[in-house]
Structure formats: structure tokens, C-alpha cells
Symmetry: C2
Subunit: 302 residues, 2 copies
DNA sequence: CGTGATGGTGCAATTTTTGCAGCGGTGGGA
DNA sequence: TCCCACCGCTGCAAAAATTGCACCATCACG
């Protein structure tokens, strides 16, 4: 899209904070880039960037402009995909920002299903915490986001919320494996492996024990849910995860997962959303629709 | 705005239906224009226009694109006005499509008030019937619209509706001038001057008499409300108008206006609105706000 | 008190855009 | 039926714009 060149250049500068660096990544000279910026500032009658000794920073006007530019670029993508849609095949690119729990099973499966029907659509899955995910929506690095619990809802438009009770994961031979649901105090009587503080599950557990006389004393901590499962398997201890991150029961012969009693630990809430007010490209909109259907089929949604 | 040139060119072609004609109005050669179109079609991979023997017409893809182009252009205007707003003075241009009744008093007064505060803002007032007004919103010839009664609400976002009871206009010496409200049958016992079928007031009256045994027998018809008032004055007959089109009582020594009884003729409804989903430029948004305030102060609004 | 990074500028090379002249095609009116 | 006016499109040369190179001034940092 020829007419967006200047806008893309400016976006790159805003992103990197330096004309020369941006020029590097854009594979042009800083001269050309600098001149495009000056030309745009001339057009607007106002500087877009503040010149600092170590680079540039968006001015107030630049902030307004950059938001407009990002919308323009993404809108043009949407229009192109809508037009491509007219001639049959759906094309496009979908970027999703999500937390780790979605990566191992749910998303790959859903993407496979979607790509089965529309193989010209490409995907980009970005691991982001809640804050980074929302920023990705704002700068349109991502079309959709799937994050846990507290989002600064300012720019986040919730498409669906999914209740995810915390599950206890263990081998089939663990003493607790026979129960239907588990109380927190019973679990903490056994050695446990926990995710690090950065994760929502850990937060929920911390909040829960704070209301009791219990103590979380993990024998292993990790920021990888996969590692925690292997640890639980090999050492026959407990770990905690949410259902969406777990394999389907059939694909998981040696282990079981049981829900924690909700009186002890409230369920985590998974938020599925997009940038407020944005019209998604066709492909992303349809994929979002597919996700919503699968969510409501398989989980407890609101 | 340099980077919008191609888009503006294409918009002009879509509007005029001919490359050569559009080139004429754009003061460039048809060659240059043609080549820009071909380049854009190359970019999109799809023709924007169908080539007909007597010109061009938008293809399906072109329809999608042209909508995008119009929003892009108007968005850029909005951004520019937002940026100008940062540095104090409000600039911008406001285009309003409205029916005749607004032209003589209400709009000039409101525009004068607004321009008193923001003299760098320019206005454009377009006389349009309900259908043309909505089309003007869609192709962004107009930012705001003020129209009567039935709108194909598809793309019309109502900001406010104003009840406008039909008034009877006459000289101070007319036999009916003493009443507080008037019944339709009393009015029709006297000679009347009416607007033509094209106007909402006439519609309301026609609909009213259809439910009775009365007959509308205008001695004068006109499509000019101003003419009708002068006619009523010089010949001492009745005419019908809505309050927003009438001068303030003080500025109007020889005539009076009395509401028709609403049991006979339902009030007309004035719709104030914009294009659905569009974010207006600052200037237009603030002017819309001013209008809403005046409307609610002076008339019966919903 | 250098040193290395930053943004900005003059000038020439290069690329892109434009205008002119002309082609082939189509449809309405004499 | 035959023009003729109008349409979109193209080759080529002129004009305009963008770009790259070399270089400058500035400022933070060691």
C-alpha cells in the first residue's frame, strides 16, 4: 500500500524512538526518513516529535497522530482482507496476545481448525502478560487478547469471559486422586509445585491462604506450566493449573486434574477481548467468533 | 495531506463516474489520474472500477474501498483539527445538511454564536431533503444533519429528536388570532396558503385531513416558507409552519403563530444526527453539543 | 575532554510522477 | 448507416519528487 509508506515510517520511528534506528530496520537511509517526518510536520504545521539528545519522542500532537496512523494501517489491512473475501478465499493475518496457559493446547488446536478451513490466513501468537497484552491491542500489534483477571479496562473491549476454576494436577496414584473436588487444606498437606508470582493462579492461591492459617510452601517453583506438570509426574507431587492449559483427558494417561473447591479458591477469570471500538479484519473477526463458540461449548462462560 | 492524494483522486473519480471529468475538476491530466487508479488496483490486486463505454463505475471491491477512503479522509481532517485544538485556537470546517425550516433563523443564529467564540471555524450549510441529507452523511459531504420525520435510519445516528407541533401563522388582526390553540376545522374554514407536497408540514396536514371529512384547499402553494409568510401577511390568510422556522416573537410585530391542537395534527419530529459510528471533528462535535443545548432549552426534546 | 550517538542540510543521482500526442473502442444522433 | 464525441489506456520525454552521500552541530557519557 503505497500511500501508507510515510505513515508506516513514522510509526516505526515512534516505536523505536530514534530516526536512525528506525531507518535501519526499514532498510532506508536516515535522510529519507528524516525528510518524510519533516514533510509531515510541515503538512500538519506542528512537530510530531520532540527532538531529544538521544533520539526523538512523540509530542502531544504526535500522540494523536500515531493513534490515527495505527488505525489507518490496520483499517487498510481490514479493507484488503474484505476485498480478498469477495473473490472467495479468505486471506489475512491474525495476531493474538495471550498468557502462557493458552499456548500448549487450546490455541494450537483452534488455529489448526481455522487454518483447515482458510489456509491462506496466517497467525502470530504473542506471549504477553495482562499489561503487555493490552498495550499490544492499543498499538495494534495484536488483534485479539486472552488474558487473566485484572485488566486496566480502559481500551479493552471484552468479547467473552470464561470461568476457570483452579485445578489440582497429580498422578493417578496420588492419595488425593480419588476425590471429586479438593479442599485447599487437604492439598497443602502434601508437597506442592507452584507457578511463580507472575501468574494468576499463584495470585489466587496466595489470596486464598491469606484468609486462612495455611501456608504455601512450594517445594518447586517455575514460570513454566509444562515443567510443573512434568515435575508433578516425576516426583508424584501436586501442582495447580487452570483447565484451559491442560491436555484433553484422553491424551493424558498418567495424570488427573481435579477442581479445587470454590469456597477455598475463587475461579480465575479469563478475559477474551479486542481493542475498544475497533472493527477487526474479517479473518480475525471470524476467528474470534470461532473461539467464542468453542469457549461456550467447553467452558463456563458469561 | 500529501499521502491522501491518491485516495482523494479516486474519491473524485467515484463521485463523477468518469476519469476524464474527475481529472478536469482536480486540475490534472486524465493520464496522471488513470495511472494512479491503475497503481491502486495493482496494489489491491483487484479492479476498483468497472470500465463502461461512457465512463467507470465502482466495482464491489471499489464500494468497500471508497467507504474506507471517505472515512480516512474525514478522520484525517478530524485529527488535524484535534491537533490544532492543542495549540489553543479551534479550527475546522463544519458541513450541515438540513431542511429549509432551519435556514432562516435558527441556524444562522447558532452559527453566529459559535463563530463568535471560534472564528477560525468555517461553515457550510446544505439544503437537503431527508434522503439527500442522509446520503450527504454517508459520503461525508456533511458532518451533521437536521431532517424531518422519516429517515431510512440505516446509517443515521440520532443525537436528538425535537418535537415541532405545526403552528398556524397569521396577522394579528385575523379572526383566529385571539385563541390559544386552534382546531384544524376552524383553520380550514378560512383561506390557507400551504407548502408543496415535498414538505413534512404538508404531509402532516394531508394525513390529518384524511382522517376527517375536511378538505385542504390551498389558495396559494409554494416551496418557500418565507414566501408563504409574506403571502399570509399581505392577504391576511393562514399558513402553516413549524416553530423552528419562525422568527422570535419580538422580531415579528405584525404576525402571530398559534399551535394547532395535537389531537388534530400530530407534531412533526425533527431529527438531529450524524453518520452512525463516526467520530466527528472537534469543531463539529462541539457545535453539535451547542445545538443540543439550545434545542433542549427552547424546544420539547426527547 | 574526547567519543559516539543523535537529528539536520546541501547537492547530485535516481526514481517516480506528470503531460502530450495518439490508439482503439463504443454509443448516440444526423 | 456513418460520423463524431467521448471514453479509458499507452509510449515517451519532461518535470518533479525522493533518495543517498558527505558532512555539520549538538549533547550525554565515560
Amino acid at each position: 500500500m503505497k500511500h501508507l509508506t510515510s505513515l508506516r515510517y513514522i510509526e516505526a520511528v515512534a516505536r523505536s524512538g530514534s530516526i536512525r534506528q528506525a531507518a535501519e530496520t526499514l532498510a532506508i537511509t536516515s535522510t529519507a526518513l528524516n525528510r518524510r517526518i519533516l514533510a509531515m510536520e510541515e503538512d500538519l504545521g506542528v512537530p510530531i516529535f520532540e527532538r531529544l539528545p538521544r533520539g526523538v519522542r512523540l509530542s502531544a500532537a504526535g500522540e494523536i497522530l500515531i493513534h490515527h496512523i495505527r488505525t489507518q494501517i490496520s483499517d487498510m489491512e481490514r479493507v484488503k482482507s474484505q476485498i480478498a473475501d469477495l473473490s472467495g478465499e479468505r486471506r489475512g493475518h491474525i495476531a493474538i496476545a495471550c498468557s502462557q496457559a493458552l499456548l500448549p493446547h487450546f490455541l494450537p488446536e483452534q488455529i489448526a481448525v481455522y487454518r483447515g478451513a482458510h489456509s491462506a490466513v496466517t497467525f502470530e501468537v504473542l506471549l504477553r502478560d495482562r499489561d503487555a497484552a493490552e498495550r499490544a491491542l492499543v498499538d495494534m500489534t495484536a488483534d485479539l487478547a486472552l488474558v487473566f483477571e485484572p485488566v486496566r479496562m480502559a481500551e479493552f473491549e471484552v468479547l467473552l469471559t470464561v470461568r476457570q476454576p483452579v485445578h489440582v494436577v497429580m498422578t493417578r496414584h496420588h492419595p488425593l486422586a480419588g476425590h471429586r473436588t479438593l479442599r485447599l487444606r487437604d492439598c497443602l498437606a502434601h508437597p506442592v509445585a507452584l507457578p511463580t508470582e507472575a501468574y494468576g493462579v499463584r495470585h489466587l492461591l496466595e489470596a486464598a491462604v491469606r484468609r486462612t492459617s495455611l501456608n504455601l510452601r512450594p517445594v518447586v517453583e517455575s514460570d513454566s506450566f509444562e515443567f510443573l506438570r512434568f515435575q508433578a509426574l516425576s516426583e508424584d507431587i501436586l501442582t495447580f493449573q487452570i483447565p484451559i492449559g491442560l491436555p484433553e483427558p484422553g491424551q493424558w494417561p498418567h495424570m488427573v486434574s481435579l477442581p479445587l473447591d470454590e469456597r477455598d479458591v475463587p475461579p480465575g477469570i479469563l478475559y477474551f477481548g479486542q481493542l475498544k471500538g475497533r472493527t477487526l479484519p474479517v479473518a480475525a473477526a471470524r476467528f474470534a467468533q470461532q473461539l467464542q463458540e468453542r469457549f461456550t461449548e467447553r467452558f463456563d462462560c458469561v
